[in-house]
Amino acid sequence: MKARVTVTLKTGVLDPQGKAIEGALHTLGFPEVGSVRAGRVFDLELDGADRASAETRLKDMCEKLLANTVIEKYSVEILG
């Protein structure tokens, strides 16, 4: 089973990297960019076929390691 975990900064947490990317996009001629928030994507291959239990386990992985829930939020997705 393949799964994707997306980790992004919580709303309201200052994202200096996103700000720098935003500035670079403006420089490159994309003035329509209002704001950029940078995040991380993890693609995981999991053993087993039970989607519900995989989702529970993925959330556990996020809580324990993949995300720092003080500043980040996460979402999990089973890709099939």
């Binding site: 200052l14 200096p16 390691l65 720092n68 003080v70």
Partner: protein
Amino acid sequence: MNTAIIVFPGSNRDRDMIAAVEKISGTRPAVLWHAEKELPAGLDLVILPGGFSYGDYLRSGAIAARAPIMDAVRAHAARGGFVLGVCNGFQILTEAGLLPGALMRNAGLRFVCREVKLEVATSKSPFTAGYTAGEVIRCPVAHGDGNYSADPETLTALSAEDRVAFRYAAGTNPNGSVNDIAGILSANRRVLGMMPHPENLIEPLNGGLDGRPLFESLLAAA
């Protein structure tokens, strides 16, 4: 004072810390590899030194905070043992849940390596008893992720419980840390995490002695 210094793959301030502890306490600290599972018996102080543990992969300090030795460090802290985390050590302590908040990328996005002025925010701790509250000291910093962040409730609690140990002196905040926070204490005041490096200002050869009282305070408390 019985001290153990934990070395992770990518630690690089461990030798400075060993030298500082040995010079000030007169006792050579035990040096433990992160893969150990137990701390030596009768330990007073555990130090997590600076560096780039695990190459700062995932988040600074994130992987080190889950290293095998960390359960023993948590148990030591729970027993009321002293824990000092400097720079990457501070990042590890927040990732390990031993101190609240998080250390994010510096607001200016640049690695900052220079001397800053620190205000000793409280002298009521085993780490800062040798200073006077409000005193301004010199201390070097060297980090890319030192931007302290925490939710408003945590910041209120830190302030109400007098748990901010050091602040960057007014106008000198090098990384955008909220409330100029440079170092914080645990609720029992026996765990200190700080971004600046007091171990690098402990003898005349370093150009100053401003970091020395921190170690002397611990020595007196242990």
